[in-house]
């Protein structure tokens, strides 16, 4: 460089800022110690803490039930994977149908709107009960009646409606000038949607889509109410009889072990610079200095 030496003023500012940072660190440390100590004191002196510890956090019981609960979790994972793939594909198709202007698709468009309205507005639990207990009552020979299948179906029905709305928002977020540019080059409507609009639409909604998939992962536990032996059901079976609820905690921890890394992975992925063409936010936007 040009042999620049910081001026006295610059050095003074630097010293001041360093002192401020040291002070901020000290404040954060003291605050953390105080809060943690207070929480520990309140918990440990609360009446019934001993009972709570044995009923919810018994290490022996945890080790005992881990294999069953983990086996149940494998069912959750499978339901989650299948439901994710189906939901993403069908949701994207529905969003395209809903935003298209082809006259031939008009009836489909009406159905899509009705479907999304209904399944976004009805509680998942109700859909589960209807699918899980209602469908088998129809005695359709071709319909599998396993609780995992019917429960998975109910979850797919609900989440597809959510994902369709997210993708629709993504499609509508692509600027009209992009469509103008594509049409100006002679691309047909279909080519414009496939090659220009959808790639950008999907990129624009990566974050909400991913958070929907994380939410789907934990809602896969709802199939337990139909009797499918997933992690939650396995934990429930293990708690019957002895009033020790550690298996539920084990199931909860296992769900967290899946969902937290998944969330972080998604964050890292969508923050990655390599995926061009999504709406750009300034990193750290909204943070006040």
């Amino acid at each position: 460089m040009s042999g620049w030496q910081p001026s006295a003023r610059a050095r003074e500012r630097d010293t001041f800022r360093r002192a401020q940072r040291r002070r901020a660190l000290a404040v954060a440390t003291v605050a953390t110690v105080v809060v943690v100590a207070a929480v520990a004191y309140v918990v440990a002196t609360a009446p019934g803490w001993e009972r709570a510890r044995t009923a919810f956090f018994s290490p022996e019981r945890a080790v005992e039930v881990l294999p069953q609960v983990a086996q149940g979790l494998w069912l959750n994972v499978r339901v989650w994977l299948v439901a994710s793939v189906v939901g993403l594909v069908v949701g994207l198709l529905l969003a395209v149908v809903r935003t298209s202007r082809l006259p031939a698709l008009f009836p489909l468009r009406v159905l899509t709107v009705a479907y999304v309205d209904v399944f976004r507005g009805v509680p998942v639990l109700l859909v589960l009960l209807l699918a899980g207990f209602g469908l088998p009552a129809l005695r359709l020979e071709w319909l599998p009646v396993s609780a995992a299948f019917l429960g998975g179906l109910a979850i797919v029905l609900t989440y597809t409606a959510y994902l369709a709305e997210i993708f629709r928002a993504g499609i509508e977020s692509v600027h009209p000038s992009q469509v103008a540019a594509a049409r100006s080059l002679g691309l047909s409507r279909g080519q414009t949607v496939r090659r220009v609009v959808l790639p950008q639409a999907v990129r624009n909604v990566t974050a909400p889509t991913a958070s929907m998939l994380v939410s789907l992962q934990k809602d896969s536990g709802l199939i337990s109410i139909l009797g499918a032996v997933d992690a939650i059901r396995a934990a429930q079976i293990a708690t019957t009889g002895d009033y020790n609820f550690t298996p539920y905690v084990v199931a909860g921890v296992l769900f967290l072990l899946l969902s937290i890394p998944l969330t972080r992975l998604v964050d890292a992925w969508s923050a990655r610079q390599g995926w061009r063409g999504r709406l750009r936010g300034v990193s750290g936007g909204g943070v006040i200095r």
């Binding site: 103008a180 049409r183 100006s184 080059l185 002679g186 691309l187 220009v196 950008q200 061009r276 063409g277």
Partner: protein, 252 residues
Amino acid sequence: MSADALLSLRGVRKTYPGDGRRAEPKVVLDGIDLDVTEHECVVLVGSSGSGKSTLLRVIDLLEEIDDGQVLLDGVDVADPWVDADAARARMSMVFQQFNLFPHLRVLDNVTLALRLVHGRGRAEAVTAGLAMLEKVGLAHKARSFPDELSGGEQQRAAIARALVSGPELLLLDEVTSALDPELVGEVLDLLVALRDEGTTMVVATHEMGFARDVADEVVFLHDGQVHERGAPAQVLGDPQRQRTRDFLRRLR
């Protein structure tokens, strides 16, 4: 007006509808006639809102018109039963804001229409795309994404994308207005070169020096009408009408 024009507009009218409440309907184009022959460069000038951009979008069939004709080689392409995609494929537009596809690399931006619309194979399209990028001085940026380019580079890439299919008519909509002043030159130089090769162009611009240098005809639009037209030396140097004089004075 010549009969063998590549592009002729006759009595083109366009109104933007109001919203029925506060926004009044606005007549943007109020009976426009225009002829562009091959190898001609027509420059549209006028204040913001005078209808320059809308006129270009009408020519490129991005806007429907209320009345009048858009004749491309004598065929009225404003008729809804004409294949608009095929007509658009014969023209190319360059936009003020570049409108490059942000999810595609520069080379893919340039080759997309060649492959999808003009039926070229991948290898052939890449060769043509690289040659065109070479011409606009961006061969070294072929693998970059648009957001890695400066404004001037993005606009040159957009011009390459517009030229690569060999359009019969190039439409330029204030292509330097979004650029930093120091980047305007590199784009204008390119346009002058295209003009000298005989590219047929309709250009909306606020760059009067550029208009004077390249235009065969300057058309001054005011309130959606052609207020004055003629050779650049005449319209820009010795305007006959008061509004044209006022407009030119404001630019100085």
